[in-house]
Symmetry: C2
Subunit: 139 residues, 2 copies
């Protein structure tokens, strides 16, 4: 390879690296769109003993926020409140929605006995009267 | 500003730009992990008229798979089946879980009257006897 060719090659490689950088960002965006990786979806809905207690709701939310960053196997979390959507088929009676993605069932099983999870239950379970859990695994 | 100072300033600005570039990539990675962007979570659970009919379940799943790629505002979807997890608080009586992420409530509202969605209901509603919908908006 001549010095001139090598220079052109290096310049081209530089451009390729730049393009690759852009492609990586595009890839990250694509991952956030459809289709998505298969996951274990753990969705918990909480009903409070005192539904009108903003203090109790805040305590539960703070507990979940702490849990989200301390539990080891959580891949993604969403803490939500009922939307204003209102149709016959919609259940909007719960206080807080806690949606978790795990890599697989084994990692969800680890979460169940994670000290961070057990500590959350110890600290916060006094505020809820009912939870419903739906565990589903992607097709 | 002296020439020397300006040179130092420009060099420092270059470093800042480089650091900013790294921060942006780190930000993109963080978006894929926790915490995640705020979204509208629309989670539907289906119960079938004939829970033992694999044909009906397959028809529903095929309908959802088609809907996932034809509805305009869906950002992310998960079609799931009940896991084998089994505790008192877990409801595993449903047949299929349909979890959608929308950018916001307005985009979910568009989905409700999207022709692709209406067509799905027309084609598949005969197989289910009950749906429960939980709509939640990220804190």
């Amino acid at each position: 390879m001549s010095k001139q060719s090598r220079r052109q090659f290096i310049a081209a490689a530089g451009k390729t690296a730049a393009v690759t950088g852009i492609a990586t960002l595009t890839g990250a965006t694509a991952m956030a769109a459809k289709p998505v990786p298969k996951v274990f979806v753990h969705h918990v809905y909480f009903w409070l003993n005192n539904p009108d207690s903003q203090e109790d709701k805040a305590k539960l939310i703070a507990g979940l926020q702490k849990l989200a960053v301390t539990a080891k196997t959580i891949q993604q979390h969403h803490i939500g409140l009922p939307s204003t959507t209102n149709r016959d088929v919609i259940d909007r009676s719960y206080a807080v929605s806690w949606l978790l993605f795990f890599k697989n069932k084994a990692e969800q099983d680890i979460y169940q006995t994670d000290p961070a999870h057990l500590n959350f239950i110890k600290e916060c379970s006094s505020v809820w009267k009912k939870v419903i859990v739906y565990d589903s695994e992607d097709l």
